[in-house]
Symmetry: C2
Subunit: 460 residues, 2 copies
C-alpha cells in the first residue's frame, strides 16, 4: 500500500489520537499544570508503544519529564535518526480571546483548533503516522534507519534542564542526524525547509554619572551626561549603512551561499504585505541585503529598551545620574555568543567618556546560531522526502528567531535537519492556535519517505 493511501485511510484515527493528546493542558510555565505535563508525557509514551517503538521511556529531569523512544533498524550499522520535539504547550492567556476552549480541540473544516495543535504536538505526532505509513509501503516491520525520539516537556519555559538531559544521555541519544519538527514553512502553497536559525545574546548596559540627578542650570554643560553618553554608545553601534559598527562584530560571519541567496530571492515575498504585518511604514536595515536576508542571514544589534533620568510628563531639567539600555544581538553562523559579548564589552569600554562608569551584563551565555549544510546528504534527503510529499519543489528558508536547536546539534555532534509543516499564521503563541490538517498529513507523508531517503543517502 502506498504511504499516501495508508495516511488517508488512517486520517481519522490519527486526528482522534491527536485530539486526545491536545486535551491534556500541558502548560509547562504553569505550576498548577505540573500533573498535566506528566499526563501528557505518559500519553505520548503509551502512543509511541502502540505505534511499535520497542523502547519507550519517560525521562525525569529537575523539571518536567521528557519522553524517549527508540526503534532500531534491523541492520545494527544502519544510520541513526533522532527526532526532536516537545510535548509542553504555551499558556493560553488571554483566555477571553479564544473562540473555543483551548483544551477542547475542534475540527473546523480543514483546520484543527486547540493549544498545541501546531506547536508542537501535531508536528511530533505526524512522525508516528508517517513511520507506520512508510513501513506499510515498504512491507517491513522495522524502519530502515534506527529511529529515536526525544520529546521534551519544558521547551515553552526556555528548556532550562534540556541541555543537562542531553549531556547525561549523550550515549543513548547518539545519532547521525537530528530531525527538528518544531518550525514553519513559507506557506501552504510554497513548502519549504528551514536551514538555519539566528542565535542571540542580550545585555543590559548601565552608564553612571553623578551620584544624584543634578540641576541642569547649575551643572549642565560642564559635567558628562550619562544619557548623552548612552545615546552616543547606542548610536555608534550602527554605521550609516545600517551595519553594526561594534569593531570585530562581523569577523566570524559566514556570507550567505549564492545558491541559497538565489533560492531566497525566488520565495514569493510580498514586501508591502510584510510591512503591514510589521505595522511599519518602511523597510530598514543593512545596505546591500534584501528584507528576508536581513531577517535570516544577517546579524543585528537591536535596542530593546532604554531609560534614564526624567521619563515622565512635564519639566524636570536635570542632568540624570544614570542611563540604561537593554540591547540584543541576533547572530548568524559562525558567530559565537561569547566572542560577541567580549566585543560589545570592549566597545563600551573604549567609547565611554571620561568621568562616567559603565556596566555591561549579559543575560546568560546566549544562544548560538545554527545552520544546516545545504550540500549535505541529510538535507538533500529530507528535501527530497518533502518534495515527494508535497509534489513540488521545496525551497530553503531560515528563521530570524533563536532556539535551543544549536545546542542539540552541538552536544550530540550531529547535523540538524528541519522538517516541519507549521505556518506563521497558525498563531502558535497566540489565542486560537490551529494547524492545517492537510499540511499535517503532508508532514506525515514526508516522514514516511524521510527515513527511507535518509537510509539511502547517509553512509552506514
Amino acid at each position: 500500500m502506498e504511504a499516501r493511501t495508508y495516511i488517508a485511510e488512517h486520517r481519522d484515527e490519527f486526528l482522534s489520537a491527536l485530539k486526545e493528546w491536545l486535551a491534556i493542558p500541558s502548560v509547562s510555565a504553569d505550576p498548577d499544570r505540573e500533573g498535566d505535563v506528566r499526563r501528557s508525557a505518559e500519553w505520548l509514551a503509551r502512543h509511541l508503544s502502540e505505534t511499535g517503538f520497542p523502547t519507550v521511556e519517560t525521562w525525569e529531569t529537575a523539571g518536567k519529564p521528557a519522553v524517549f523512544a527508540e526503534w532500531p533498524a534491523r541492520d545494527p550499522k544502519a544510520p541513526v535518526v533522532l527526532v526532536y520535539g516537545h510535548h509542553d504547550v504555551q499558556p493560553v492567556e488571554p483566555r477571553d480571546a479564544w473562540n473555543t476552549d483551548p483544551f477542547v480541540p475542534e475540527e473546523q473544516g480543514q483546520r484543527l483548533v486547540g493549544r498545541g495543535s501546531s506547536d508542537d504536538k501535531g508536528q511530533v505526532l505526524f512522525h508516528t503516522l508517517g513511520l507506520r505509513a512508510g513501513l506499510a509501503s515498504a512491507g517491513d516491520t522495522a524502519p530502515p534507519v534506527t529511529v529515536k525520539l526525544i520529546v521534551e516537556g519544558e521547551e515553552e519555559s526556555g528548556s532550562p534542564n534540556f541541555a543537562a538531559l542531553l549531556e547525561q544521555n549523550r550515549q543513548r541519544l547518539g545519532c547521525d542526524v537530528v530531525v527538528v519538527s518544531d518550525t514553519t514553512m513559507w506557506s501552504a502553497d510554497t513548502p519549504s525547509m528551514c536551514v538555519g536559525m539566528r542565535g542571540m545574546t542580550d545585555c543590559r548596559i548601565d552608564v553612571y554619572g553623578p551620584e544624584t540627578d543634578l540641576h541642569s542650570g547649575s551643572f549642565g554643560g560642564a559635567v558628562p551626561n550619562p544619557a548623552s553618553a548612552m545615546a552616543d554608545l547606542l548610536s555608534g553601534m550602527h554605521d550609516s549603512d545600517g551595519r553594526v559598527a561594534v569593531p570585530g562584530f562581523y569577523d566570524d560571519v559566514v556570507e550567505i551561499d549564492p545558491a541559497e541567496r538565489d533560492m531566497i530571492a525566488r520565495l514569493p515575498f510580498d514586501e508591502s504585505r510584510w510591512l503591514r504585518t510589521a505595522s511599519s511604514a518602511a523597510p530598514a536595515g543593512e545596505a546591500g541585503y534584501s528584507t528576508l536576508e536581513r531577517l535570516w542571514v544577517r546579524p543585528t544589534a537591536e535596542i530593546n529598551g532604554m531609560w534614564g533620568g526624567h521619563t515622565g510628563a512635564g519639566r524636570k531639567t536635570i542632568v540624570p545620574s544614570s542611563a540604561h539600555a537593554n540591547v540584543s544581538f541576533r547572530l548568524v553562523p559562525n558567530q559565537e555568543p561569547a566572542r560577541v559579548q567580549d566585543r560589545v564589552r570592549e566597545y563600551i569600554r573604549a567609547n565611554l567618556p571620561a568621568g562616567l562608569r559603565s556596566d555591561v551584563e549579559f543575560n546568560g551565555p546566549g544562544v548560538r546560531p545554527c545552520a544546516s549544510d545545504t550540500s549535505s546528504a541529510a538535507v538533500r534527503a529530507a528535501r527530497s522526502a518533502m518534495s515527494r510529499a508535497f509534489g513540488t519543489e521545496v525551497l530553503y528558508t531560515r528563521e530570524g528567531g533563536s532556539g535551543p536547536e544549536a545546542d542539540i546539534a552541538d552536544i550530540l555532534g550531529a547535523p540538524l535537519v528541519f522538517v516541519a509543516v507549521g505556518l506563521d499564521e497558525d498563531g502558535i503563541h497566540a489565542p486560537n492556535e490551529k494547524v492545517e490538517i492537510p499540511l499535517l498529513l503532508r508532514g506525515a507523508e514526508s516522514a514516511a519517505y524521510l527515513y527511507w531517503e535518509l537510509a539511502a543517502a547517509l553512509p552506514e
Copy 2:
C-alpha cells in the same frame, strides 16, 4: 551718622523684624498656606510703611498677592530704581531633615536659620534697613532716586501671574533700572555681582515606529527601530568637540566679552572641589571653554531623560514601538527661545529615518537669557556700592540657571542689576536654609550706597 554705624546700631531691630516675617509660612505652592501668603504680604506692606514709603499697596493677581511700594525722590526728574524680590518661600519637605522648625527662625552664632532667610525675605528686607541707613548718613528724609519695590508672592511657583501683573502696571512700575536681590555671590570672601542668567527652553521628543512592539527575532534588522533613531537624534545633537550640532543653534550667540572672561578667570575656582559638589568624576563640555564659562556663558543641549521599549530587568527581545526623550536647552544672549525651538524642530524633521514618525512638543515659550551691560552706568554704580560695603573689589559672575528676570527687563524696558548676598551653600531650596547675618548687613550697607551711587551715575 555713617551708614555702617546706623546698620550696626539697628542690627537687632532688623533681625527681630525679619524673624517675625520668616515666622509666616508663606509657601505659595501649598494651597493650605494661601492665608499665610496673604499675611506675609500684609506684614511686608506694614513694614514698608513703617520704613517710610509713602505709597504701599497690596496688588491682587489671579493667584497670590504682590506688594508694591514707592518712595519718590524730592526731584521729580530723578532716576527711578525698581527693586524686585519675592515674599513667598519654598516648601519645607523633607520636613524631617530640618534640625529646627523651619518657621521658628533661630540665630545660630552668625547665622539665621529658617525658610526664606536667604531666599528671599532676608534679601528683600536688607533694602529697608539700607535705605534708612543711607538717609541717616545723608541727613535727608527722601531718597535721591525714586525707589519702587515690587515683591511678588508666586516666584517659588513659577511666577504664573507675574508677567500679566507687570504688563498691567507697566506705567506705575516704570523705571530706569531694575535691581534684583534674589541671587547669590561667589563666596563670603569674594563678593560678586551676577551679570547674566542663562535662558531655557525644553521639549519632549517622541519617535514612533511599529504600532506595537515587535519580536526582534521575527522583525529585527529589517524595520526601523525608534529607539535607535532616538539614540541617533540625541547623539547627533553634539559634535565631538562638545558643541551643540543642531544647525543654526549658535547663530545668535554673543561671544563673551574678553574683560568679563578675564574676571571669570580671576575667581578663586577650585575645580576638584566643584566636581565633588557635582558628584562627578571629571569635567566635560564644549572644547575651548573653562568650566565656569561652560556653565555661565555657553548654551547647552541636555538630555533630561529618555525612555522607550523594555525598561525593566530581564529579557524582552523586541523592536520597541516608540522612544521618547525630554531635552532642555540652556540659552545665552542673544538666543531667542522661539528661534531655538524652530531649529530643534527642523533638526528632528531633517534627521528622522524613513518609516518613522516624530513629534516635538516644547513646554511653553521658554525663558529668555539675560545679561547686564557691564559697561553701563547702572552696573558700575551698583558694583561701586557693593565694593564700598565689602571693602574689596567685586567680581562678575553669572548664573547657569534661568529665571523670570529677563521678562521683567523686557516688559519694563529697563536694564537689570543684580545686588545680592546669598551664598550657594545657604540651602535655599533645601532643608535648614540659612543666611549669614554679616552678609545680610553688608547687603544693607550696599543698598545704603546703591541709591546714592545710582543717583550720581544715571542721567536724569
